[in-house]
Amino acid sequence: MQALSVTAIVSFLREVLESNEIFSDLWVAGEVSNYSRSAAGHRYYSLKDPGAVLRSVMFNSAMPGMQLKDGDRVLAHGKITIYPQRGDLQFVVDFVRPEGVGILAARYEELKQRLGEEGLFDPGRKRPLPRFPRRIGLVTSPTGAALQDIKNVLTRRWPMAELVLAPAVVQGEQAAPTLVGALRQLSREPGLDVAIVARGGGSIEDLWGFNDERVARAIFGFPVPVVSGVGHETDETIADLVADLRAPTPSAAAERATPDLLQVQRALAVLGRAMASASRETVGARFGLLEGSVARLRRGAPSTSELARDVRGLLREMQAGLERRSATDRARFEGVSARLTGLDPHATLGRGFAIVQRADSKKVINSVRKVKPGDRLNVSVADGAFWTEVS
């Protein structure tokens, strides 16, 4: 048997540790001791419990403001390696929370910070939703109340759509792989316009699958916009943060993902009416012009006055016919939208105006007092919508 150099064996052990998935993404609970901070801002300490000690370091780039002290009980996230110059086993910590917050909250905060820094929640990458979705994907439990709620909303609001359900387990730790599998399968469906990821309310443990990194990345990489509706208003999961639009509940997600049938019918009525009145104006203007010519004709050449009378009579007839027909059309349109008297809002948008709404509540912003820096807003312009953030 051949002797190894110290460097060779320590490097080999280090490689084994660093290539291990579990050791490179680890949570450890323990008590801080021998805490010290170097001039460069690195923090060295030991994590201990009654049975063992683990040498730990937080380099200056990891949570720069975080100070610990001896006796703190913490949950620390990081990776195990070997510091070759000393032969020490070392726990390189990148995230630490007081033990009291609980492991789920600590994991949530670590993931939120890390994915946030990576840009997965950036408002700039949120995609606008389609105006009239035809195929709506849905990832949820095939037996849950969320599915029924969403079906009810779609039946009422936008029955034009086809709902494509990709069933998943949405409960607890089992949820993540099935959510990822369902998203993957749904992403292969042709002609999908938007997708909803939904689950009814529950405890933080119940919702855990929606705080999984794999699920977050599957949503981030999904080929069409994703609307999340997970839990209740107060639950903010990682899936919510990465989704293109976050709705507070499954029903609300279905509402955000679709136009309202009644409003579309009203808009159609408005468009029809606007066209009728525009074409009446055109005819009216031509009529005025011709009438002027007729008057001039009559003044200049009395002999043509009979002809002029005929022309004018014909024009009057024509206008009356048009008026009658647009009146009939108008009556038909107005049956649908008796209450709507305004102009078609899209015509206004076409002139460069925009509708600004809160991204979360969809409330229309009509005053600077209604926003503060950091608020996310949805801006609708003539040919679509985008998100922005107040600075």
Partner: protein, 85 residues
């Protein structure tokens, strides 16, 4: 099924375009009447599509069982690695 170029969105877009042209005015009489005719026909078609709509639901066959099996394998590896007592 509507043809690809006759989806609700496409037809609605055509209607908006015609309305926009009409409202801008300055069109020959004949053209504005034609636009109006076509627009009114589009309104009728769109309303008919809306009235006849009924939600359809399709359920995909997913690999729930397979996914769960993979999960159980990963978990048992994890448990073995951290078997305490």
């Amino acid at each position: 099924m509507a043809k690809a170029d006759e989806t609700f969105e496409v037809l609605y877009g055509q209607l908006e375009e015609k309305a926009r042209k009409l409202e801008q005015g300055n069109l020959p009489l004949e053209e504005s009447l034609k636009l109006y005719e076509e627009g009114a026909a589009l309104v009728d078609r769109l309303r008919t599509i809306l009235e006849g709509a009924e939600l359809r639901v399709k359920t995909l066959q997913t690999h729930l069982e397979q996914d769960l099996q993979e999960l159980r394998e990963v978990e048992s590896e994890y448990d073995e690695a951290f078997e305490e007592d």
